[in-house]
């Protein structure tokens, strides 16, 4: 159930390979949700593709430090909301960015709920989301210096 077999490829990964879309499979999380890595430069187009594929609900977006002094990761949990479905399809996408210049395309234009959530990631970790309509601090005061997380 947890997908401990690293050679097992998730369903979305197989689909992406079939369509020649560059990604890296990161295995499965504790609940068996497929996790994929997408490059920042590909993210804005793959986000649209995933939306068209059926992932219409951005459940949660967040960011974290991969390691002290290491990369920053922007994480997206996507779900497919459909009528009368049991155990909906879910996927977790991670986009890594260098700490020195963390710029990732915003997906506000695909999933509007990333409006506040990307602002929170910007506020807390400093990832700059390109083309976000109003990227500014949301939880900390605007005059705050530094990144709390």
């Amino acid at each position: 159930k947890c997908g401990r077999d690293k050679k097992m490829q998730g369903r979305l990964s197989v689909w992406l390979v079939k369509h020649g879309l560059v990604h890296r499979s990161l295995g499965f999380d504790y609940q068996g949700i497929e996790t994929l890595q997408i490059k920042p430069e590909d993210w804005h187009s793959i986000a649209v593709i995933l939306y068209v594929y059926g992932y219409n609900y951005l459940r949660s977006q967040c960011a974290y430090d991969v390691a002290p002094g290491g990369l920053l990761a922007s994480v997206y949990h996507l779900t497919r909301i459909e009528y009368g479905v049991d155990q909906p399809e879910e996927v977790c996408i991670k986009v890594f960015a260098p700490r020195s210049n963390p710029r990732i395309p915003s997906v506000f234009w695909v999933w509007k709920s990333s409006d506040f959530q990307e602002r929170e990631s910007y506020d807390m970790l400093g990832i700059s989301y390109e083309n976000h309509p109003r990227l500014k601090r949301i939880l900390m005061p605007e005059s705050w210096i530094g990144r709390p997380l």
């Binding site: 609900y57 459940r59 949660s60 430090d65 009368g84 479905v85 977790c92 509007k112 506040f116």
Partner: protein
Amino acid sequence: MIVNMGRHHPSMHGVLHLIVTPDGEDVDCEPILGYLHKGMGKIAKNQTIIQYLPYVTQVITLNGSKKLGSIQVPKKASYIRVIMLELSLYDLLEAATGMGMMHNYFHIGGVVTDLPFEQVEGIGIIGGEEEINWSLSSPILQASRIKWDFQKVYHYDCYDKFDLEIQWQKRRFISSLFSLIKKPSRTFELLRQELNARMEAPKGELGIFLIRDQSGFPWRWKIRSLSFINLQIIPHLFKRMKLVDIMTILGSINIIMGELDH
């Protein structure tokens, strides 16, 4: 003209600042939040589960930790949790635990003590597609007739055992008492893993994205606050509405600022 509503205002559901730009009677607004930001995510990084429990009296933390620890919840406790979650009646909780809102009733592996009662009985314009795009959750989705019942879809806890028809207006449950509840042990081993745990809170879907490392403390504790997500549509809902509608619309979104700002 710009009107500042809040931060301190009786109808602001806590501490919310709305910068309202009325154009005659029509309004546009920008919400400013963060006045109750406590840094719950940051605090969680230095706490054990038991230490962190008083910060959140919702079962999401337990769901996340419970799943990571693969702890079996006794059947009776499971039923009690379902009822508590579904009803969230503060007077019921108060009778059971002696406290209104900060009850700390749910513990890992079950509940702290038994229920006192034998029978319990429960209890702006936006389109469906739009709601999904803004990631709104259950009560608002259901108000738009989208049949998305979180518990049924994810087989959360023991909801499958209840023969439920999703009713738009009212829910009704009958409980019965079972035998003793086991007490969980105070410390336990947790695996190094990532988990996106979520549950259906009264106001929507609450989630925790948890990355746990070997030290036993969370490396990342992201709170997917439902009020935070639901608030995003406020400017959208206010379009073509009048100044007097602001309070009603805010009320219908049903946000709690303490949870929103985490």
